[in-house]
């Protein structure tokens, strides 16, 4: 129990550090190039006179030293006061929370699809036998590689041209939870991740297939299907599971591309708009919340791994007792 508590505390501490680093980087990166006055004064295309600029500068404290502004920003984040958007004059927390569900839904569906594709791909290759089977497996491996390097903006554009403009089967743009409008963005996000996860799970499956426990099971007369379902599949799932935290982070950043491409509301678009306008509070608020979401997902996948793989639990406990003996996960 104490081990669990310590484990959780350590994760939470690392989460705080991650958010602090991220907020600092964003603050200085955005501010290094000047004042965020455009955001306040209407963004690209609006032309402000000197009096207006002076008034806005004083009102938003942009005449304070940068370090003062930075410390104030940190204080706000620490007290969960994310401030008001310069451009929209609305509380950042409100803006971010309004966009969060849309992006989380997209990322969760894409992760589920990527999982389904990669495990199925690995299974098909595992049961492929004979010349035709080997050929099919080779094709699949080719697809994995192509899929994993496919740029999302390109894939998305192709899907739109084919299925929206060309065939007219699916809408080019995506809103809310309408199933038809979710198909193209989810596929766009899932394919590269699926390609990557699939390579990993296939290797794990092939390895498990030759492991002593699988050979033993076969020797005891277990059918191939039973060996697969009861013994080796779990091994194939492990690396994919441990990569899911990474994949989720990848999906959140991919959401920027997909949301802009499919005109879908979400955190990614909020972030992109804020970056163009130099809306500092929104950028920091959104990035901080993405970082927190990412850390939470990593914690969950770590915990799930412990559930799926009993060996890790033992290792974990022994590591807590005598770190020098720890193997590391």
């Amino acid at each position: 129990m104490i081990a669990v508590l310590r484990w959780t505390t350590a994760k939470a501490a690392s989460a705080v550090v991650v958010v602090w680093i991220v907020a600092t980087l964003v603050f200085f990166a955005v501010r290094a190039s000047g004042d965020p006055l455009e955001a306040i004064l209407g963004g690209p295309g609006s032309q402000a006179g000197p009096e207006t600029i002076a008034a806005a500068t004083a009102r938003y404290g942009l005449d304070q030293p940068l370090v003062t502004q930075y410390l104030l920003q940190l204080r706000d984040i620490a007290t969960l006061q994310l401030g008001d958007s310069y451009a929209r004059r609305q509380p950042v927390a409100e803006l971010v929370i309004a966009q969060l569900p849309s992006t989380l839904l997209l990322a969760a569906l894409a992760l589920a699809l990527a999982w389904a594709l990669s495990i199925s791909g690995a299974l098909i290759q595992a049961v492929s036998r004979g010349v035709a089977g080997r050929a099919a497996a080779a094709v699949l491996r080719g697809c994995e590689i192509v899929a994993s390097v496919m740029p999302q903006f390109w894939l998305g554009a192709v899907l739109i041209m084919v299925f929206a403009a060309g065939l007219g089967w699916l809408p080019a743009t995506s809103t809310g939870t309408s199933p038809a409008s979710l198909v193209l963005p989810v596929v766009t996000l899932a394919v590269p991740i699926a390609g990557f996860l699939s390579q990993v799970s296939r290797d794990a499956l092939a390895e498990a297939d030759q492991a002593p426990f699988a050979i033993t099971a076969r020797a005891r007369g277990a059918s191939e299907t039973r060996v697969l379902l009861r013994h080796t599949l779990r091994h194939a799932a492990l690396p994919a599971l441990s990569l899911s935290g990474w994949a989720f982070g990848n999906l959140l950043s991919g959401a920027v591309v997909v949301e802009v491409l499919f005109a879908r509301p979400g955190l990614g678009r909020l972030l992109q708009d804020a970056a163009v306008q130099r809306d500092v509070p929104v950028m920091i608020g959104a990035v901080a919340i993405v970082a927190i979401a990412y850390v939470i997902v990593v914690i969950i996948t770590d915990a799930l791994e412990l559930v799926v793989d009993p060996r890790l639990r033992r290792q974990h406990v022994s590591k807590q007792r005598s770190p020098e003996l720890g193997v590391g996960s």
Partner: protein, 544 residues
């Protein structure tokens, strides 16, 4: 059976080939279509989503685009550029140009029932001047107004600190449109969400990053003579959607998801008529798109070097091909929709021999290994920061062609794509020798904003509008005199003189009109205002 379920990456690759062949011919040409009343028009914009639907706050083009549906200004403008009545019937200036008497149209109400009258005009102008409103563009229009005097319900008097003949023109901009004083009494945020005007539509709701829903104003009284319309609009609703990617917008248009798109790609415009898609070409007023050369520092502080650049740039072939024939070369500092625009093609004719001779004469005689000219060990470099937010892909390619053309006579043009903030930063630090910046307003007074020496003095943020850093006394005088006179002929003559001076300095290389195109499908009657060329849906009808 084994592979079919999971081979979709391959399928999608194969589909690329199919779509290249397929989608070009997939649009059926519409037969005879009939216009219907009612229904929902879907508009997809590629401009940024406004941060506030009230164009008094800030003041950029995206706000002007959408607010045209629900806010109306005091004046309109006819196709030939003359100011026409709208919410105001007439405007008369005193002899000294310091007093303007404006007569308002009677019987007009805001959509919340508040009457439109002289008091409303006063509230609106004072609000634009209030620093708390943070108006940038609208503020510039009314900054010379010292006092607004309500004479009676339909008469209002503006007392100015300095004469401003451009007053009716700038009051025709959407950024100075009239809003209900009752609505303005709310806080800024509430007004941003749903501004209230006298327009044909009313803001119903705004779902950020998705759409703004507009509903018909059933009590609408049409006052704009240019609209040729009586009573409320035909449409029931407008869904104003934000679709940032141009290819997605086009796909949404061709699949029937949307009826009108703005900012289409030149290639899509060129292909439109063959696909039964309507095209509206409405260049933005005020300035043309042009390259400004920084006359305040080497090498463009030498007029010979500027002329050498202008005569070797040769943008014509690029404009023809990159813009798919949808725009033509400009030889003016002003947009072709400005009646006062003055062109001088001869100044910019391509002459490589002359360019070389001018550069030799200016002392750039040595050559680097890569052919770049040198003088006293210094290269003939031109830093050209390019705003990726404001310059389209086609325009950026055009700059690359100019880069290669001018390299022929020994220029080393360094194009640097930047996001908007870095771009403003580079301008503020004078880290540029050439730059291209659009500027939209109404009327030739834009010349004063862009080329008067006052414009070289940076605001506290570092921003200054006179990127060419022109400081010419007789130009300043002409621009000031044009602003002071209300005699139309004298004004036109003064602006012609000013443009002659500007073009003669070779401080700018005009390229083409500010692009403003709309594609339509399944709808008729979409028109653009002759002020800042925003679309109005007052006559729009869906077709079956």
């Amino acid at each position: 059976m084994r592979t079919t379920h999971f081979a979709f990456p391959v399928l999608s690759l194969a589909a690329v080939a199919a779509l290249v062949a397929g989608c070009t011919s997939s649009n059926d040409l519409a037969g005879e279509s009939t216009a219907v009343d009612g229904g929902t028009l879907v508009y997809a914009t590629g401009d940024a989503e406004p941060s506030c639907l009230d164009p008094h706050v800030g003041g950029n083009y995206p706000q002007a685009l959408i607010s045209t549906q629900y806010l109306e200004p005091l004046f309109g403008r006819s196709a030939d550029g003359t100011i026409v009545p709208w919410l105001a019937q007439s405007a008369e200036a005193s002899e000294d140009g310091l007093t303007w008497d404006i007569t308002l149209t009677e019987g007009v109400s805001f959509s919340d029932g508040t009457a439109f009258n002289a008091e409303a005009v006063k509230v609106n102008i004072e609000r634009l001047q209030d620093p708390d409103t943070a108006s940038s563009t609208g503020y510039l229009a009314v900054e010379q107004v010292d006092e607004v005097v309500v004479i009676d319900d339909t008469h209002v008097r503006l007392l100015l600190s300095t004469p401003k003949s451009a007053l009716p023109e700038v009051l025709s901009q959407q950024w100075t449109a009239m809003q209900s004083p009752t609505a303005l009494a709310r806080d800024v945020e509430a007004n941003c969400q749903a501004p209230v005007g006298t327009g044909p539509f009313v803001v119903e709701s705004w779902t950020p990053q998705e759409q703004v829903s507009l509903v018909r104003n059933d009590a609408y009284v049409s006052t704009n003579p240019a609209a040729d319309h009586d009573g409320p609009a035909h449409l029931d609703r407008i869904e104003w959607r934000f679709i940032p990617d141009a290819a997605t917008r086009q796909a949404a248009l061709s699949s029937g998801e949307v009826n009108v798109i703005d900012n289409p790609l030149p290639s899509d415009i060129a292909a439109a008529s063959a696909q039964g898609i309507g095209h509206i070409d409405a260049p933005r007023p005020a300035s043309s798109n042009r390259i400004e050369l920084n006359t305040a520092q080497t090498p463009f502080d030498d007029e010979r070097v500027r002329e050498a650049f202008a005569r070797s740039a040769d943008p014509d072939p690029g404009i023809d091909t990159l813009f798919a024939g949808v725009t033509t070369r400009s030889y003016s500092a002003l947009s072709s929709v400005e009646p006062a625009a003055y062109s001088d093609e001869a100044l910019f004719s391509v002459d490589i021999d002359r360019s070389n001779a001018l550069l030799d004469e200016a002392g750039w005689t040595e050559r680097d290994d890569d052919g770049t000219r040198m003088k006293d060990g210094q290269r003939l470099s031109v830093r050209f920061p390019v705003s990726t937010n404001q310059s389209t892909a086609a325009e950026q390619s055009l700059f690359e062609q100019i880069q290669s053309n001018t390299a022929g006579v020994g220029f080393d043009v360094q194009l640097t794509p930047m996001d908007l903030s870095s771009w403003y930063g580079a301008l503020g630090e004078h880290a540029y020798e050439a730059v291209s910046a659009p500027y939209t307003t109404v009327g030739p007074d834009v010349l004063r904003i862009l080329y008067h020496s006052d414009g070289t003095i940076p605001a506290p943020s570092g921003y200054f509008a006179n990127h060419a850093m022109l400081r010419v006394d007789e130009l300043d005088e002409a621009l000031e005199a044009a602003l002071a006179t209300t005699d139309e002929d004298e004004r036109t003559a003064l602006y012609a003189e000013a443009q002659e001076i500007i073009l003669g300095t070779y401080a700018i290389v005009p390229l083409y009109d500010q692009q403003n195109h709309f594609l339509t499908r399944g709808v008729t009657g979409v028109e653009t205002l002759h002020t800042i060329s925003t679309p109005t849906m007052i006559n729009a009808q869906l077709t079956e």
